[in-house]
């Protein structure tokens, strides 16, 4: 008797517990609460939580940076075409042939807590960032900072820097001194007050578990009250987001997969697409087994990139430019590409033979043994790797394909234990980043062994060329060298897409947002009037 009742009681008790938990979860104080309605603009992306939207707390990726840029303004911003434009700095003057800058701040800029933004905050930011390294830009090039008045500041540089405005000042968020001054470990400062910025929107709630942010417009924004009362940034898989947009619950799907574009259009949604300029690249182990550039060129000729576009991207990509920079980039030069490496197996064979490989019954031999190349990549490029392996094997080169988890991949790259690897990386943003991406020794870089020093010299020269025309000419030389030397072979440049409702009009910037983020969500989309083009 008692047992049966006990069991029922037990099950009932469990059920009660579950109800209690639901109520408890529903009552979480930090849960983002917003009434979906006319005044909230809902933006979705599939990735999880990006961390608190504060410069040291957000996830170290483009999306985290972009979201944080709605809350924190920099001195310099971008206009609706991506050009350098005034932001917290109303105007600036280049002095001393580019070795110093006079910067005049806005009179009416305020932090979200009402405290005015002053030159002291800017000076504080530079000194704070020199002792608390910021991952997206560095203040190392700044020699001195002098506060002249509440709205005027004088900077001197250690050397001329072509990217000082378009990279350093644009990338560095200005921090409020009264909030950050006594934070010794800013990466552990994760209260909502850490997100006190001067940007057009302020963070009013953040639900880490659900990856959901609610931003409120900053009515006192110096450029006029922003366009939308609230922005909701939420995590949602694109397929669901399309359905939710049909039901008027979502306004922007920021990461619409290309194979859903047709479907989304059919559902009556607006779609904007653009080349992502994050090409997929076949990086050669140019410091090791493939130090002979004729071999690298031969392999390049032996790969049918048109087929890659068709199979891997189902047509939603273009064949990438081989000089690193891609069409759309303001620094791209058409005439600088002597080689476009159009698919040509015969040319590949000639080049292999020049380098001492012999073909034996369609199988390439080196030193009497069949050639076997190790191709490594991560899961994201597994399909591309499979197709490339197929193509190279048809060419007579044996391929040992390994699709590795990130950690294992990093270890293999660091130890040089590979011949070919597939990865994608940014060809956007200020060209200053090229040095790290081509010659750096981190695992994302080409790790090109620049024995003649040509590429290094060209990249140094462009960094000092303050004149845009001169800089572009030097970068044209870089693109020629890159295509000739082939540290990596640019394969495909996939398109990106964003779906949007009629309440908003997102657009892609030709060279990406700020540090080169390939999303159609620059700050200017959400402002009342896009800022005017700079001087």
């Amino acid at each position: 008797m008692s047992k049966g009742r006990n069991a029922l009681l037990g099950i009932g008790g469990l059920g009660g517990l579950v109800v209690a938990m639901v109520v408890m979860l529903a009552d979480q104080p930090d849960a983002t609460q917003a009434s979906a309605g006319e005044h909230v603009l809902v933006i979705t992306q599939a990735d999880g939580d990006q961390g608190l939207l504060a410069p040291f707390a957000h996830r170290r990726n483009g999306l985290g940076y972009l979201y944080t840029s709605y809350v924190f303004d920099s001195l310099v911003g971008q206009d609706a075409h991506g050009k350098v434009a005034p932001a917290l700095a109303e105007s600036w003057q280049e002095l001393d042939g580019g070795l110093a800058y006079d910067i005049r701040l806005r009179q009416n800029a305020q932090w979200h807590d009402g405290v005015p933004v002053t030159a002291a905050d800017v000076a504080f930011t530079f000194s704070y960032l020199s002792s608390h390294p910021y991952p997206f830009a560095t203040v190392e090039g700044i020699a001195s900072v002098t506060v002249i008045s509440d709205t005027q500041i004088h900077l001197t540089l250690k050397q001329r820097d072509a990217s000082f405005l378009s990279h350093t000042l644009m990338a560095l968020p200005i921090l409020p001194e009264h909030v950050y001054a006594d934070q010794a470990r800013p990466e552990r400062f994760t209260g909502l007050d850490a997100a006190t910025g001067s940007g057009p929107y302020s963070l009013i709630s953040y639900d880490k578990v659900q990856g959901r942010y609610l931003l409120q417009r900053n009515r006192d924004y110096y450029d006029g009250a922003p366009r939308y009362e609230q922005l909701a940034l939420v995590r949602m898989a694109p397929d669901r987001a399309i359905e939710a947009m049909r039901a008027d619950e979502v306004d922007i799907v920021s990461d619409l997969p290309m194979d859903r574009v047709e479907y989304a259009k059919k559902q009556g949604l607006n779609v904007v697409t653009a080349l992502g300029n994050h090409p997929v690249r076949l990086v050669f182990n140019s410091g090791g087994s493939l130090s002979d550039r004729n071999l690298r060129r031969g392999i390049a000729y032996g790969i049918d990139r048109q087929a890659l576009v068709k199979i891997v991207h189902r047509g939603d990509a273009v064949i990438a430019e081989t000089g690193y920079l891609q069409r759309g980039s303001p620094w791209f030069s058409v005439q600088s590409h002597p080689r476009n490496y159009a698919y040509d197996p015969e040319e590949a064979a000639v080049l292999f033979e020049t380098s001492g490989w012999q073909s034996d019954d369609g199988v390439w031999q080196a030193g009497g043994r069949p050639v076997q190349l190790r191709l490594i990549t991560d899961k994201r490029h597994a399909q591309m790797a499979t197709v490339i392996a197929d193509q190279l094997e048809r060419l007579g080169i044996g391929i040992a394909l390994r699709v590795l988890e990130r950690g294992a991949l990093q270890e293999r790259i660091a130890s040089g234990d590979y011949d070919l690897r597939l990865s994608s990386s940014s060809a956007m943003g200020d060209p200053n980043g090229l040095r790290d991406r081509v010659l750096g020794d981190n695992w994302r870089s080409d790790r090109y062994a620049d024995h003649q020093g040509d590429i290094g010299a060209v990249l140094d020269a462009q960094a000092r060329a303050l004149d845009a025309v001169e800089r572009k000419a030097i970068l044209a030389r870089f693109q020629t060298l890159y295509a000739e030397e082939l540290p990596a072979y640019m394969l495909t440049n996939p398109y990106l897409a964003t779906a949007y409702s009629n309440r908003v009009h997102p657009y892609y910037l030709p060279d990406g947002v700020a540090i080169g983020i390939p999303l159609a969500l620059p700050k200017s989309v959400f402002l009342a009037s896009p800022p005017l083009a700079g001087q």
Binding site: D239, A307, K310, I311, K379, A382, V387, D390
Partner: protein, 277 residues
């Protein structure tokens, strides 16, 4: 397999199942081993089933039917081998704890307790992320993470059998425990072992599929679970019909067969133990 004539009255049904299983497994495995179709990428991506591609093609234009065949031997071999490994470890520990000195017995049983309380998934996730196992790796980690549940059961059966006269007699005559184990104990608990083996096989299939589904196995190792993972991107739209359903059905059929066989084996082992002394 020296299968003892069973005392249970289900012999006819048994044979039907055995025949069905063996026929199916060998057909599929052999087809997989000797299929001449290369599993090549092509520009025909995501094609629905047609006369040219019986089960359509996947996102890189590989033929799904060929993939199913190629995945069959991998899935089947991993399941049976890792189950064998797990059972071998379990039998070893069960024997050792049944006949060993008290210290050994306590040590083994406490270890078993410990392993039984750790969710095996934690171990699997950590190790799999570390090694991205290929075929051998999967067999090892699944074998090593699945033995603990069987030790107690086998030990109980061994203890029961070791009190029988034949074993006692051999021991009196100076026969070693090893001799007893091979000639008397293992044959006596054989039906139980078969039933446990099939159970372990089922679990191994599920675990392998799960690891492949999480993308933690070597991506070149084609398995049905891995094919299902590839289909996850295509739930919205039509392609799941030919990308998800075929490997899922194969997996379910294989598991169903093993489960049914396991039931028969269990019935036999119960029947056997019920006619004990």
């Amino acid at each position: 397999m020296a299968f003892r004539a069973s005392e249970a009255g289900h012999r006819k049904g048994d044979w039907r199942w055995w025949a069905a299983l063996i026929a199916l497994l060998s057909a599929v495995t052999f087809a997989g081993l000797f299929t001449s179709e290369p599993y090549r990428t092509s520009t025909d991506v995501l094609m629905p089933p047609s006369t040219q591609h019986w089960l359509g093609t996947n996102a890189v234009g590989q033929d799904v039917w060929t993939g199913l065949l190629l995945a069959a031997p991998n899935t089947v071999v991993i399941a049976f081998t890792s189950a064998f490994l797990a059972l071998a470890i379990a039998v070893f520990f069960a024997m050792a704890s049944a006949v060993g000195v008290p210290l050994v017995r306590a040590g083994i049983l406490r270890t078993v307790d410990m392993f039984q309380t750790i969710p095996a998934i934690l171990f699997l996730l950590l190790v799999a992320a570390w090694v991205q196992p290929g075929m051998l790796g999967i067999v090892l980690i699944i074998g090593l993470s699945a033995w603990q549940d069987d030790v107690r059961v086998i030990r109980a059966a061994v203890l029961r059998e070791s009190t029988r006269e034949n074993v006692q007699y051999v021991r009196h005559q100076g026969g070693s425990w090893l001799y007893c184990a091979i000639h008397h104990l293992i044959p006596a608990v054989w039906p139980l072992l078969v039933s446990l083996y099939l159970q372990a096989t089922r679990h191994a299939v599920m675990k392998t599929a799960g690891l492949a589904f999480l993308g933690l196995t070597d991506p070149r190792l084609l398995t049905w679970g891995g094919m299902m993972q590839g289909a996850m991107d295509h739930l919205y739209g039509d392609a799941w019909r030919w990308l998800l359903v075929p490997p899922a059905v194969c997996l379910a059929m294989f598991l169903y067969l093993v489960l049914s066989l396991g039931k028969i084996a269990e019935r036999q082992s119960m029947a056997r133990s019920s006619v004990g002394p």
